[in-house]
């Protein structure tokens, strides 16, 4: 079976009505992660209170934000590192929302200890969402962007 947009909408409605904040679902290799509200991070039960001057670890970015429309393709990070949207500071980004790109279009750079690695789209289509922030740490397999596949 596959998940249709209607199924996803239904699951979201159920989550909305439930007492849970997060839902992870895996069906036939399709992973769905839903989160109620805004960017409330998935946190473990509170750790023992640390001393006051200790700043909490920056909340982990939610691994997946739900797509704005069904049928979008994802570009995931091939590496852990610092993600850059532009070739150099001050230069225009490689891609913007609305950019039409090819499989081998470079969509960003990931820096690992001063080594710059180009990230290619891998899918042909139009950029719909850019999830990763410029100059932020991205994890391996974190979704960077979503595309509407097609010509």
């Amino acid at each position: 079976m596959t998940l249709t947009a209607k199924d996803v909408a239904e699951i979201m409605r159920l989550l909305e009505q439930s007492s849970f904040d997060n839902l992870s679902l895996e069906i036939d290799g399709v992973k769905l992660n839903l989160q109620r509200g805004s960017a409330a991070p998935v946190r473990q039960p509170a750790a023992p209170a640390s001393s006051l001057e200790t700043q909490p670890v920056e909340p982990a970015p939610p691994r997946v934000k739900p797509p704005s429309e069904p049928g979008l393709a994802e570009v995931a990070s091939p590496l852990l590192g610092i993600f850059y949207r532009a070739p150099k500071p001050g230069e225009p980004p490689f891609v913007e929302v609305g950019s039409r790109i090819e499989e081998d279009t470079v969509i960003g750079i990931i820096e690992v200890m001063k080594l710059m690695n180009s990230v290619r789209a891998g899918v042909k289509g139009e950029v719909v969402e850019i999830l990763a922030e410029n100059a932020a740490l991205v994890e391996y397999d974190q979704i960077l962007m979503r595309l509407r596949p097609g010509a």
């Binding site: 750790a47 001393s51 200790t54 690992v112 080594l115 740490l137 994890e139 391996y140 397999d141 974190q142």
Partner: protein, 458 residues
């Protein structure tokens, strides 16, 4: 500088072990985990988990650049490397030094000094610590001259080896030249370093190691010894402290040798100096030094009451050694059994899979270090250690009895384990008598096989 956030570059029980001490010290933890470990217990208990790469260690846990980048990315003050993986690779320590991230361990130079086994041997000789008769060999002719002095049987060891890897036994001197050639080629392929050296093969030896802590400025204390002679193919299975049957005078000499070795290096952090006790000659020799926290460290913690990971962190934090030698007191006897996902009936083949149910023992004098709970997945990419069961009691017979009870209360379903095998070993009279040598476990297995065959034939 105060360490407030630590990136843990490891997995499994040791990752959880480090998290536990960090929580007690109100230090935040960030776990660098591979894709295969994102659902693991350490990943759930760390304050934050970062996915550093795919399951294969070469793509995740062995990527020093990725790990240091992760530490910089989350503004971690320090990296704890655990054991295995990058803990004893100078590359991680060096990269940390370059990027001003604290490496919770020795300096890169110290890791290099003890990682090269021939250099470590030379360091031991220079510090007046006895080594197994032997030495470096450049040519087959050199080797033969030295070998005649030492006498057969011999061991050929790879300079880049250690922990039982890269060794070859030679029983007849005339086989030495061909064995040397083969050993060199194998060492080159396995360790990227074809250099080998030869040592006398000690037929009846015990593996006794000394836990030390150094402040990096030449001050070193020891926390007593551990006997790790119950091994199979150089894999330790049961460890205990104190080593039974050694005279106080002999133990003191072994401790002093470990201190001498570590002081000369101005060793920093927790480390272990391993010795081989030659039962036939009533002597002991330096084997190697492990520049990391060791799997079996909890037995030392049990009898001394000292949290070794907390001391590692304090030293890394520049707070020096908080202990004087006279502060270190050992009470009673502690024993550890390593519970592995491996099948004794199939020559100890690893048995990865999903743990359907896991019940661990508890109670007075029982400690279990494990990342395994009911439903845990044991990925095939990593070592098969499921848990360490550690018991502490007033004396050795009481500790052995406590361990037998702890093992009986343990249940692991879904993967094959060596639990029943441990229970068998712990009822063996020879083990109960104490002081077994490193050939004990293979002999035990042989005996068991023979009994099994007799039974099978009715």
């Amino acid at each position: 500088m105060a360490i407030r956030r630590i990136l843990i570059a490891n997995r499994g029980e040791i990752a959880l072990r480090v998290i536990r001490t960090c929580k007690a010290l109100s230090i935040e933890t960030v776990l660098a985990a591979s894709e295969a470990d994102l659902d693991s217990l350490p990943a759930r208990l760390a304050d934050r988990t970062l996915c550093i790469g795919p399951a294969r260690p070469a793509d995740s846990y062995l990527r020093a650049d990725t790990i240091v980048q992760a530490a910089l990315g989350v503004k971690a003050d320090a990296i704890h490397p655990g054991y295995g993986f990058l803990s004893e690779r100078p590359v991680l320590a060096k990269l940390c030094e370059q990027e001003s991230v604290i490496f919770i361990g020795p300096t890169a130079a110290q890791i290099e000094a003890v990682g090269d086994k021939l250099r470590a041997r030379a360091e031991a000789e220079s510090s007046g610590v006895p080594t197994v008769p032997g030495g470096a060999v450049e040519t087959a002719r050199d080797a033969m001259v030295l070998a005649r002095e030492i006498g057969a049987p011999l061991l050929i060891k790879a300079v880049g080896g250690g922990g039982g890897r890269g060794m070859k036994r030679v029983d007849r001197l005339k086989d030495l030249p061909s064995a040397l050639e083969l050993a060199g080629a194998e060492a080159g392929a396995a360790f990227g370093d074809a250099r080998v050296y030869i040592e006398r093969f000690v037929g009846r030896g015990r593996h006794v190691e000394v836990q030390i802590l150094g402040d990096g400025n030449g001050r070193v204390v020891h926390l007593g010894e551990r006997d790790c002679s119950v091994q199979r193919r150089y894999q330790k299975l049961i460890e205990e402290t104190p080593a039974s049957g050694l005279s106080a005078e002999f133990r003191a000499r072994v401790h002093a040798a470990a201190l001498q070795f570590a002081e000369r290096l101005s060793y920093r952090s927790a480390g272990t100096v391993e010795f081989l006790i030659d039962l036939e000659r009533d002597a002991f020799y330096f084997l190697e030094m492990n520049a990391r926290i060791q799997v079996e460290h909890p037995v030392t913690e049990a009898v001394t009451g000292i949290d070794l990971v907390a001391e590692q962190i304090a030293i890394a934090d520049g707070r020096g050694l908080r202990l004087k030698q006279e502060d270190v007191r050992q009470t009673g006897c502690a024993i550890e059994c390593r519970i592995n996902a491996e099948d004794p009936a199939r020559d100890f083949q690893p048995s990865p899979g999903t743990v359907r149910a896991a019940v661990w023992p508890s109670g007075e004098g029982v400690r279990v270090d494990t990342h395994v709970v009911s439903g845990s997945r044991i990925p095939p990419y990593y070592d098969s250690l499921l848990a360490k069961i550690i018991v502490h009691a007033a004396d050795r017979p009481a500790a052995l009895e406590r361990m037998r009870q702890a093992l009986a209360a343990t249940r692991v379903e879904g993967v094959a384990t060596n639990l029943a095998f441990h229970a068998d070993v712990l009822t063996d009279p020879e083990l109960n008598a104490g002081g077994v040598d490193t050939s004990y476990l293979p002999r035990f297995l042989e005996r068991r096989r023979a009994v099994g065959e007799v039974r099978a034939h009715g």
